[in-house]
């Protein structure tokens, strides 16, 4: 993949010059020694295990907080100064650039981590217990911190740090590693932080291990929490890595390629379904889970609304091409993919049917439910045929990430309420919870009728889509007129 990391070498040369480093090294060494002395003098019986705990905490702070800050600031400066553009011109692969930034910019944090890791190991040795658990936790800390550093790199590439203090720019993404360990215990399973980010002492190993083996339900399977955390780390970390890598390679394109968009949507869908199933099956659900669901769904809602609005540049590109090639201007065109309009129309039809069905007496509702299903199914088939017809007539949809994301998210929004008509029981409720707006409404109004929620979500989706299309269509017509006038002149 890469033979060497020139950027990592360069950043390490800048940051690890001995003349600037020896003060840092001495400082950390002094603090470690002072820690040991203070805890020993405090009279605490288990002062050595306490030292181990402090060393683990500082390792996390150095890598996750210090490292993220260095990366956020460093990448932001590289973008502002234009150095990243220089690097994009070189044959360096996006992997070499990304990993060069992470390992190079956070090199001082990794050095500090190494010092505290060695110190913690030395404090552990007298306990005569196998150091494997300590090494495992240190490894998980590095893995978790690397994940947060990737997230920081990605967020800075997409939105450079705007927070500037007098001396340094601070990336808001350093809040992530700070906040996550302090969330409620139940919902910590949604994060890549290992559950045992407590003070892991040799004496308490047994109960701590038992806690680590706490069962987590995921699609009816029971997993140990540690495995679940690792799974999240690997899955989310891989996703984040590939997206950051893509963003480094293509400055002016959306962050997600088609493959990545589908992969991300599918993975998030799977994870959230699993967590929702667990929530549904617990006898005493903790409200914190809904908080996460609401936050997540709100984010998806806002992304969807922005995603369906075609960018102005795309409209202009399309219009210029039409004028240059003297093409007939069809109603369906690249900048406002026909699929969006189709889905909006289908959604309106389904919503109107559900509203009508909801007004019927309960006995009749049961009778019409199956025919409603058939109608909804037919509408979906119609939508697919319409899309196929447009494709067949060479009305090309924008083959870019925005459109794919829109389609995936539209399906995510609309289909669960449609599937809800199949089952009003527990599974149906769960499906309703998956739909972003439905979940949001349910969280705000817990006793709302599921039917009403389903209808509301479809109607709002459709109205938002049509509204966006209307405004962009108006803009497109105006631009086409101006361009044609210029050409005729």
């Amino acid at each position: 993949m890469f033979r060497e990391l020139p950027l990592a070498t360069a950043h390490m040369r800048m940051r690890l010059r001995l003349s600037r480093l020896y003060l840092t090294l001495i400082g950390h060494a002094v603090v470690i020694v002072a820690l040991a002395i203070i805890l020993r003098l405090s009279g605490e019986q288990n002062w050595l295990p306490s030292c181990v705990g402090v060393c683990l905490l500082v390792q996390y702070l150095c890598l996750a907080v210090g490292g993220c800050n260095a990366i956020g600031y460093g990448i932001s400066q590289e973008i502002k100064s234009g150095l990243l553009s220089f690097h994009r011109l070189t044959p360096m692969s996006p992997d070499a650039i990304l990993l060069g930034y992470i390992f190079g910019m956070a090199s001082r944090s990794y050095l500090a981590w190494a010092m505290w890791a060695v110190a913690g190991f030395l404090f552990w040795l007298p306990s005569a217990v196998s150091p494997l658990p300590y090494l495992a936790i240190s490894g998980m800390i590095v893995l978790s911190a690397f994940y947060f550093q990737l997230v920081t790199a990605l967020s800075t590439l997409m939105v450079p740090a705007r927070l500037e203090t007098k001396h340094k720019a601070t990336s808001p993404s350093i809040l992530l590693p700070i906040c996550f360990p302090f969330v409620p215990v139940d919902t910590i399973f949604l994060t890549p932080i290992p559950l045992a980010l407590q003070f892991f002492t040799p004496d308490n190993m047994a109960p701590d291990l038992r806690q680590w083996l706490l069962q987590v339900y995921f699609f009816q399977a029971t997993w140990p929490a540690a495995v679940y955390s690792l799974f999240l780390l690997v899955v989310l970390g891989t996703l984040t890595y590939f997206v950051a890598r893509y963003k480094i390679a293509f400055e002016n394109r959306p962050a997600f390629s088609k493959r990545h968009a589908l992969f991300i949507a599918f993975t998030l869908f799977v994870i959230i379904i699993g967590r929702t199933m667990q929530y549904v099956q617990r006898p005493d659900p903790i409200p914190g889970l809904f908080f996460y669901l609401v936050c997540g769904f709100s984010f998806i809602t806002i992304s969807f609304i922005f995603g369906i609005i075609p960018k102005r540049l795309l409209i202009r590109q399309h219009c210029v091409r039409l004028v240059e090639e003297k093409c007939r201007d069809p109603w369906w065109h690249d900048a406002a993919p026909a699929m969006q309009a189709t889905l909006a129309l289908v959604g309106l039809c389904i919503a109107s049917q559900n509203i009508v069905a909801g007004l019927l007496p309960p006995v009749m509702q049961e009778m019409v439910r199956h025919s409603l299903l058939m109608h909804n199914g037919l509408l979906v088939v119609l939508a697919v045929c319409l899309v196929g017809l447009c494709e067949g007539c060479r009305i090309h949809f924008a083959k870019d990430a925005n459109s794919v994301i829109v389609v995936v998210l539209a399906i995510w929004w609309l289909f669960p309420p449609i599937l809800f008509t199949m089952d009003h029981g527990q599974v149906g409720h769960c499906l309703l919870g998956i739909s972003p707006l439905a979940g949001f409404v349910s969280a705000c109004i817990p006793d709302s009728m599921p039917q009403l929620v389903a209808t509301t979500s479809i109607a709002v989706t459709s109205i938002a889509a049509l509204g966006a299309l209307f405004f962009r269509q108006k803009e497109r017509h105006s631009l086409m007129r101006k361009l044609r006038e210029n050409t005729d002149r």
Binding site: P6, T9, R13, S85, L89, T90, V320
Partner: protein
């Protein structure tokens, strides 16, 4: 014709602004192409498109015959791009900065040191090898960036205002380097405001205004298209000669007496017109002691092109 850069109907849009509108031109191998235009004409955007840093809205660009839209990667290895304010790593030493980009461009480890030394000698920065980049003056940083641009021997150079902010001596050193590069057969595209200095080494030019290319091509071809030639004439007598210089020769557009008492005559036509005019002067009884056709200056072309906002 052996164009190494070909641009056809290029558009570049930024939201509500069209930075480049329908630009078409070509640059032949081994030429130094001067790109002139006022601020906001679209020169930097055009260079960034050629350097594959900016995606065009519309149009075709090919470099060494490779279309830009399909194959950015192989093109990047053939291009050296130097922006107007080149960013540098202030806390790296000069040799470390060059070593970074030598490694980035896959210069073999065994030859890296020699290559860095060669480029430092070319830009006269050997004595600053161990200095931090942040300690260098503005002119030295420009030269260092030029060295970094040349470290992997790209056949095409795109330089955006390389002389801006440099004192006259530093500019002269830079232009000497460019002339050496031309001798080596490299193709250079350079944008600048300083027409009089670009005159000394450019063999082709393009004039941009409000995103459009007003005129582009080899200097001699542009001038021939406009059908004008300039000649310096020195006569033994000085008084009452102007009328004779114009008389019965309608091809004379203007005659100007210079400070050194020579005449600059602008003629419409080609080399035959020049020869005919020389004969005409002798026929009129004027004693000609110098008759030298003058090289077309970029300023002349600029004025004749009718570009209204170019400085």
């Amino acid at each position: 014709m052996n164009p190494i850069i070909e641009v056809d109907n290029l558009y570049v849009d930024f939201d509500n602004v069209t930075a480049v509108a329908g630009v078409s031109f070509s640059v032949e191998r081994g030429h130094i192409f001067g790109l002139v235009g006022p601020n906001g004409a679209g020169k930097t955007t055009l260079l960034r498109v050629l350097a594959t840093l900016q995606e065009p809205t519309l149009g075709k660009v090919s470099i060494t015959g490779i279309p830009l839209s399909d194959h950015a990667e192989p093109i990047r290895r053939k291009i050296g791009f130097m922006p107007d304010f080149p960013p540098v790593y202030e806390e790296l030493k000069v040799w470390e900065f060059l070593d970074l980009y030598a490694a980035a461009y896959d210069v073999p480890r065994e030859t890296r040191r020699a290559r860095c030394t060669r480029e430092l000698e070319r830009v006269s920065l050997m004595e600053k090898r161990e200095a931090l980049v942040g300690e260098l003056s503005r002119g030295m940083k420009q030269r260092l960036t030029l060295a970094k641009t040349l470290i992997y021997d790209p056949p095409i150079l795109l330089l955006d205002e390389p002389a801006s902010g440099l004192d006259p001596l530093a500019r002269k050193q830079l232009y000497d380097i460019l002339l050496d590069l031309r001798q080596e057969g490299r193709t250079v595209m350079i944008s600048s405001h300083i027409l009089s200095e670009m005159d000394k080494f450019c063999t082709a030019m393009g004039i941009m205004e409000k995103g459009k290319m007003v005129s582009a091509g080899k200097l001699s071809e542009i001038n021939q298209e406009q059908g004008k030639r300039r000649v310096r004439v020195r006569l033994l007598e000085e008084d009452g000669v102007q009328q004779k210089m114009h008389k019965k020769f309608p091809g004379v557009k203007s005659t100007t007496l210079e400070h050194d008492r020579s005449w600059t005559v602008v003629l419409s036509g080609d080399d035959r017109t020049l020869a005919a005019y020389n004969k005409h002067l002798v026929t009129e009884g004027l004693e000609v002691c110098e008759f030298t056709p003058l090289k077309v200056s970029m300023e002349d072309i600029l004025i004749q092109s009718g570009a209204t906002h170019v400085s």
